[in-house]
């Protein structure tokens, strides 16, 4: 397999991604409004969105934001939500290997769900232009930055009080994402355990992000134990 890296590939990646940016808008707005409500300045919000560039981890960290900022729990939230990115790296490796310097590390820093999914589809179609990925990721990153900045500005204008019903949008983002994540009945028990543990240990722990991580670890352990019991793992 020969991997190339051309401007045409970059542009094709950007063009393929443009329609997907519409789907980012609600998440970006939620992140921006939430950041504003939790006391982040416009600059701090923009820095977070530019450097972290991973919406669900930003929502989780911002939900539990405090003043002064919770360094440990925000880092933990990012680690827990974004560990899935590690699974995407190996399949992108042939493209990343074909790049050098800034382009290489920009690609690694921009590993993110939508661009990864598009790149896999591109590989399956037999097209191997490594810059396709950067074209896609740069488009997503720009749209992400723009919508979160817009959300922050909107939040500042509307100035929603804490506990306003619109903040239900933050958990609703995760609830909506559960639908495509559901892989079948085998997920029911791990999810129930995750909910029960998170609810059960929440009041006992000093930090709400820890309860979320405990629930996720307990549920995932239960699921992995059952699937790998007796030898070969299913699925």
């Amino acid at each position: 397999m020969r991997v190339i890296a051309t401007g045409a590939g970059f542009r094709r990646g950007a063009r393929a991604t443009l329609p997907l940016t519409v789907g980012l808008v609600p998440f970006g707005l939620v992140v921006g409004v939430l950041a504003q409500a939790q006391g982040l300045s416009a600059l701090e919000q923009a820095l977070m969105s530019a450097l972290v560039f991973a919406g669900s981890s930003q929502i989780l960290a911002l939900e539990f934001w405090t003043d002064p900022a919770p360094i440990a729990s925000a880092t933990l939230a990012a680690l827990a939500v974004n560990v899935r990115f590690a699974l995407m790296g190996p399949s992108l490796a042939p493209w990343i290997d074909a790049l050098k310097g800034v382009r290489k590390w920009a690609t690694v820093s921009a590993i993110v769900d939508h661009a990864w999914a598009l790149a896999i589809a591109e590989m399956r179609a037999g097209r191997h232009d490594a810059l396709f990925y950067l074209g896609s990721a740069v488009t997503l990153w720009s749209a992400w930055l723009a919508t979160t900045i817009l959300g922050h500005a909107l939040g500042a204008v509307v100035a929603l009080p804490r506990g306003h019903p619109l903040f239900f949008a933050a958990p609703a983002c995760f609830i909506a994402l559960l639908v495509p994540i559901w892989r079948g009945r085998g997920d029911a028990a791990p999810w129930a355990i995750a909910a029960a543990v998170s609810l059960g240990v929440g009041p006992l722990l000093p930090n709400p992000a820890l309860a979320v991580v405990s629930g996720a670890v307990a549920g995932s352990l239960a699921g992995a134990l059952r699937e790998t019991a007796g030898g070969a793992g299913q699925r």
Binding site: V25, P26, A42, L43, E44, L47, V52, A54, S56, A61, E63, A69, P70, I71, A74, T75, A78, L79, V81, N82, R84, F85, A86, L87, M88, G89, P90, A93, I96, V108, I111, P165, F168, A169, P171, A172, C173, F174, A176, L177, L178, I181, D187, W191, I193, A194, A195, S198, A211, V212, V213, G215, A216, A218, G219, S220, G223, T228, G233, R235
Partner: protein
């Protein structure tokens, strides 16, 4: 336009943790094949994590929380559109809470 040093530290902590996740997949996982257990465990992480986050948020709101969650799930299931699911879910939650 302020930049608080503690907030900056938290943002950098998140950025470093996220970069570590991204880079470790490329640098480590391609060489060291994770076993079936770790693979199964990581496969469960997104779902269980989202449930563990959403469950307390829904329960804390009482039954309007359940109404909002159910509306979000149903619309997402029926249409596959995240913006629409969010809109209807938040509206249902708001309505249920107003009616309380």
């Amino acid at each position: 336009m302020s930049l608080d040093p503690v907030t900056l530290a938290a943002i950098l902590g998140m950025a470093l943790a996220t970069f570590a996740c991204r880079a470790s997949g490329y640098l480590v996982l391609r060489r060291v094949q994770p076993g079936p257990f770790l693979r199964a465990f990581l496969g469960h992480v997104p779902g269980t994590l989202f449930v563990a986050f959403a469950a307390p948020a829904v329960v804390r709101e009482g039954w309007p929380g359940f109404v909002g969650a159910a509306a979000t799930l149903l619309v997402m299931r029926a249409t596959g559109s995240t913006p629409l699911a969010l809109l209807v879910g938040v509206a249902a939650f708001w309505l249920a809470r107003t009616l309380m």
